[in-house]
Structure formats: C-alpha cells, structure tokens
Symmetry: C2
Subunit: 280 residues, 2 copies
Amino acid sequence: MLPNYTVNIMAWLRSPIKGVMLDISGVLKNGNVAIPGSIEAVQRLRKCGLKLRFVTNETQLSRHDLTEKLRRIGFQLHENEVFPPAPAMVETLKGLRLNPMLLVHPKVLIDFKDVDQSNPNCVVVGDAAEHFTYERMNSAFRLLMELKNPKLFTLGRGRYYLEEDGLCLDVGCFTTALEFATGLKAEVVGKPSSSFFATPLKDMGLDSSEVVMIGDDIESDVGGAQKCGMRGVLVRTGKFRPERDENHPNVKPDAVVNDLAQGVELILSSESFKSLIKHE
Amino acid sequence: MLPNYTVNIMAWLRSPIKGVMLDISGVLKNGNVAIPGSIEAVQRLRKCGLKLRFVTNETQLSRHDLTEKLRRIGFQLHENEVFPPAPAMVETLKGLRLNPMLLVHPKVLIDFKDVDQSNPNCVVVGDAAEHFTYERMNSAFRLLMELKNPKLFTLGRGRYYLEEDGLCLDVGCFTTALEFATGLKAEVVGKPSSSFFATPLKDMGLDSSEVVMIGDDIESDVGGAQKCGMRGVLVRTGKFRPERDENHPNVKPDAVVNDLAQGVELILSSESFKSLIKHE
C-alpha cells in the first residue's frame, strides 16, 4: 500500500508509460546526500526496461562533473542521459551566432569553452550562487542597456532550491532582477521551456504522452512537463512545501507522491489500475 | 526663450506654485558633481520665496551625511529640508512594533540606530549597492520563508540610477528578486509611495496642488507626485533616456525640461503664461 499519495487515475490510464524523466536536485538528492530509496528506485525503473533521462536546471556544475557527482553518491547513470541547460544554451548561441557575456558559476564555464565570448552581444544568466555579485550583475545590466538589440537568456526560472543548510535563491530571482532593470523579457533555456524538454524526448525516441516527469518544482518540472503533453508527478521531497505546492493555483500534478520511491512504485503499478477499473 | 521644453499649459495654470520638491540624484548632481546651473537654480527658487524640500530615495548615506555631501558640492540647504526613506522607515517600524533584518548600505545604518534588530520579524531592503551579496540576499530570503507572517519593506522601487562611471542597478531590482523568490509583495517606503510624499507636503504646510515635483525618474518622481495631486516635471538629466522616457506609456509629465535650471525658469515664469493666455 502507498499511503498519502494522490493520483489522477484517468491521466495515468491515458497511455502506457515507456519513459521517465527525473529531476535531480530534490528528487534524487539533497545537496550531496541521496534521498533515501532514490538509488534503488532508479535501479527498479531500469530493470523494468523504462527509458530514463535526467533533466535538470543544474548550472553550478558542468554536465560531466554533475554526472560524476551523482555516480559518487551511488547512482548508476551515463553522461549522455543527463540534460542540463548549458549544452542546450551553447547550441542556441551557435545557431544564432551570438557571443555571450556569461553570468554563470565558474564550474560550468567548461561547457561554454567552444563559444566565442569576445565583444558580447547578449547575456546568459545561470545559477551563479555566491558569484552573483553586485558588480557582475551591474556589468550584465550595463551591457544590456548599451546594446542596440539586447538579448537576455536564462538557464531556468527557478525561485529556490534546497541545499543541505537550507533553501537557496535560484537563477530565476536574479534573472527577474535584470528583467526589471532593463525592461527585457528573458528567454528560458532549461525547464519549463518546451523546447528544452523536446531534446531528451527526441533522444528517447518517445512521444510525450508515453513519458512521465518527476520533480520537486511544481512550476518548472510538473507544469513544464504537462505543457509538453507529459504527465507530471510532484514529489514531497526537496524544496516541496505543502502550504504552497499542495494546492497550486495553476498547476495540478497528475500525481503527488511522498518521494521518488513512491513515484516509481506508482509508475510500475499503473498497469494494475487498469485491471482494477475493468473489474468494477 | 526656453528651447526644447514641453509643457502642459493647463496644468501649470491650475493653481499658483508655492512649493517645489526636488529629487537629488540626477537633478541636483550626478555622483559627486553638481549638474551645471543646478546650484544657482536652487538659489533662485529660495530668493523667490518658494518652499523647498529635497525628496530622495537615496539610501546609501544617512540623512545627515547626505546633507553634508550636498553642502560640500555647493548647495545651500538644511538637514530638516531633506526627506530620504530611512527616517520614514524607522517611524513605520516603530509604529508597527517590528524588528527588521536590514539589507541596507552600511552608511545608512546610523539612521536605524534606535531600532531593535534582535529576533527580526521583517526585512527592509535599501540600496545596498556592492553590499548586495548572494549571502545577504539569501539570509533575507530564508528569514522571510521561515516567518509565519512575513513582511518585506523596500526603500524605493527604482530600476537604476546614474553614477559617474555609468548606470547602476537600484534597490527595486533586488526587491523584485526577493518578491519573486518568496511570492510576497514589498511595501514601498519612499517614492513613489503617496504616504512618503505626504510627510514633506505636511512639513511645507501646502496642498499638493500648490507643489511641483522635479525629478529624473518618470515613474518614481513624476508618476508618484502626480498621483498625490502635485505637478510632475521630468528633467533630461541623470538617468533620463529619451527612447524610454519621452513617450512613456503610463506617465505624462506636466513638463519635460532639459535640466533643473530650465525647470526653475519655467516655474518662475508660469505666472506670465496666464497673462499670455488672457491677452489672446
């Protein structure tokens, strides 16, 4: 028995689940610590032949370092299953022939090593954390005010995330500050952008109706996935806060579960719902 | 002759002008340098017997230090003519019996010396400039998320201002970041709040219809003053940018002038408009 979970049965029966997208921070781990049961939950999904992708707005580490970090904690995964915003941003910049000023964490710079940063004509904001200084924010602001055709990109629009010592301001806050100052609207490369989810979907070779996204951010993870046609499951781990998330005004998750382990149990037992309804 | 100014004649003729409120940064001075003609313009207003108040959202200096700084540059004024947000904030905090966490510039702390800052139950954001660190922003954020009845105050909602080395992000940007993160709406103590303008108005003993506000911020100065029933004059100095301010979607200044000197000329000649119209 699964206590305390809520599920939109009709959504679960819509089509069989062939793939799962997992958010990382707050779902697999908090800070450097695996959330109890999450390592085994990922293994269960693999054993059942479901395709997995790890879809994150993490921009404090490069794709490589993020994968290695998860491996050290005990997760089994390959780098090419991990989809952070930085590589997607690089593709966008190359496609538009733009040179960015990077307001990002130093550890993610390596993902931008092939991008020309001279004479910048746009700004890219990532989760720079303690590297969000007034000076750097102001440099980005001044560039945007000087450019004839300013472009502001952000690697996500998250409000906050949970670290071991507490909640932390996320990239969305600083993006919003620059939007307020400049009057510009930032383009999001990362969740909840549909074009960002499209890349791992294509990589899985699945239709969005066959995929479930599991995350702790009701807007970026659940709302974003649902906009793409995926089912969105909210976990009560990570940054989840019942008073804010359990009855969100705009986003209704297809299921709310206590943690990833329960979410996986739900996915693996979803076929049985069908027989349950048939019996009635 | 005054070249290049635009004026809403009917607004100017509405009632005689008995007092003038002046913004400081961008009107009297840029950084530490007096704007040409502004020292003499203030003297002209005084000579003509108009009541003057200096109404500013400056929160990088205490009221005393701000007055002294203006005197050193060459302006003649008294400390009790200067109305910055910090003393008003102190009154508000005392009235509501609130203990603030102060996210403000160290130089303005002296204005808060009589306020109990132990066990804070609200956050006050000022123009902390380079003291807006991620760590301090995050501490304020965490406090607001922990409080049962969180209150967020901001000493202004400006987007940016002009310093000698260029445009600088103002307090509104960082307030907006905290609002985005917490879902709260900050209460403004400072321009454009009507209750903030009410204090210098009362101090002058004048009705708002008898007072003109001159500023370089079309929203905080001009829009805020107009909401109180004052006439609002926009100067083309300081942060003024023609492409953004000359045809603002929401705020129509009662006059747009090149600088304070021209604004004062306009005020002092406004009586002559009347005779001009009568002659026609």
